[in-house]
């Protein structure tokens, strides 16, 4: 049985309400079974996939099917833009 993985997660802007403490924007650790995907992470946090428009895994924009490496930094944004 493979060891579980731990990722560091930030949930940005209007996704803040899904953080363990909505007011604390710092990255939080999340333990998941080995082989978990972005989709699995979002489901475990209760974040609707449709709202998680931009997911960066170690600075690379990633689809929901991407498998998470141990120790990954995962940043999740809603549909967002600016200049």
């Amino acid at each position: 049985m493979a060891e579980p993985i731990t990722v560091q997660v930030t949930l940005r802007s209007i996704l803040g309400k899904y953080r363990p403490d909505p007011r604390d924007r710092a990255p939080f650790a999340r333990e998941l079974p080995a082989g978990s995907t972005v989709r699995d992470l979002l489901a475990s946090l209760g974040v609707p996939e449709a709202l998680a428009k931009l997911v960066f895994v170690n600075h690379v924009r990633s689809d929901p099917a991407v498998v998470l490496p141990d120790g990954a930094q995962v940043d999740v944004f809603p549909p967002i833009a600016g200049g």
Binding site: R12, K53, H59, P79, I80, A81, G82, G83
Partner: protein
Amino acid sequence: MRSVLRVRMGALAVAKEELAEACRLLGGRALTSALVAAEVPATCHPLSAENRLVIAPGLLSGTAAPCSGRISIGAKSPLTGTIKESNAGGTAAQAMGRLGLAAIVVEGKPKSEAPHLLFINKDGGRLSEAPELKGLGNYDTVKALHERFGEKVACITIGPAGEMRLAVASVAITDVDGRPTRHCGRGGLGAVMGSKGLKAIVLDTAGLPRAASANPEAFAAAAKRFAKHLATHPVTGQTLPMYGTNALANVINSAGAYPTRNFSAGTFEGVDAISGETERETILARNGNPRHPCHPGCTIGCSSIYPDKEGNFLSKGPEYETVWAHGANCGIADLDAIAHMDRADDDIGLDTIEMGATIAVAMEGGLLPFGDAAGALRLLEEVRSGTPLGRILGSGAAVTGKCFGVSRIPCVKGQAMPAYDPRAAKGIGVTYATSTMGADHTAGYAIAQNVLGVGGSVNPLKPDGQAGLSAALQQATAAIDSTGLCLFIAFCVLDVPDAGQAVVDMLNAHCGTAWTPDDYVGILGKATLRAERDFNRRAGFTAAADRLPDFMKSEALPPHNTVFDVSDSDLDGVHAGL
């Protein structure tokens, strides 16, 4: 029938003439570029009497179209030597639309040294000397103009930087509260205005209705449809209004494309302190306004009011580019310091992008350390004072780099790159290299597809597909720049085909045309780029200028450790479809 106001500074004469038939369906950038290309000798010195300053609202400015208050100012640029169009929000475009003015063209030079004031109302325009405005910052200038002409006038002004004809000088436009916070920043057009001895233009629309449309019912229906699309798209309807443009700081940092310490890295450890989320929290805590439209009729409202620690007005919420330029690019993680610098830039009349890039180059050159916020603010005041050092800095990043022996100069055609490193976002790199404007992000905003997932998806870290992406965006953007619509509508239009159709429907109903979407891109977009490319060619620019600086092809940018590797032949093919 729209008019052109010809302002001859030599004779101090102002005359209204009918807009030429060839320009009848042009506005905004399409019109400024057509007039500059036709009337300015391409080899003239940009500060000479032969240059022209052309100010044109968009085709829809002055109507009830949502988000239609954008103005274009064009000339030969003192910073780049290319043709230039610089764009801003604020109140002047709609004022010109109501006044029935397609353009104001300022030509020649006055005989006297005194700054001049141009007052325009429904009866026409008149020029007068205004020695009392000499040397004033934009805030005091606008205050004096409001005292003299009333609070409701729209003002186009330059600060001391423009009066000194510095290449980083901007042209300020008053916002909905009458403050000079919206700027035609890029390319030194404030210096052109200063070289013509013109300190201020005042537009009085008292008693004037909105601009009339050819088909008012069809126009109203299309505008309503367009407004609904803007309101229901998650970016234009929710996150952009809530967090403003600086919402992007964390996104671009997460993508590893956030240029840090003069483009030496793609992430900034201090990004959270200067992020859009922090900016919003600060504004709310100080009873500022986190959703403030920069012009009347904007339904997005991405700007904001940023108070100081005491709760008094300090500046409009610094935009993403300003926060990056004075923040991460200088190694500064203090949002209040950045807001003070934003206020100073607005008052002195400086392009915040170029100024931040310049200070970062000066930091690399050893003038002051990275991270020195107080030092950076002092340098802005040097520019205001016109000291020799101030004049060097006010001439931009490339000149400053030469003076301080710096080799990492992030410029194309002499203009500094904005807040996206092209080694980690290769689409915007193609735009920087090939735009007629020099390193310019709005000219073909490939970040939408490279990073934001808007309008499709193109991997930012590979060279594939970037040239075609940038080409299509440059054409579409030149068209939007001609309509008076804010470029941010593109986040909706790129995702929602009927929103793009609604734009064409509004234009057809207002102008009495029967354009298809291809006609619209062709007439307002491609033709504009052709005119600009031709001007630049006549000004002496060749394909050699359509390149990024060499260091970006060899110096790998962390965290992705990539270089810019879109081929020269791909770059040379970008404009083949014009």
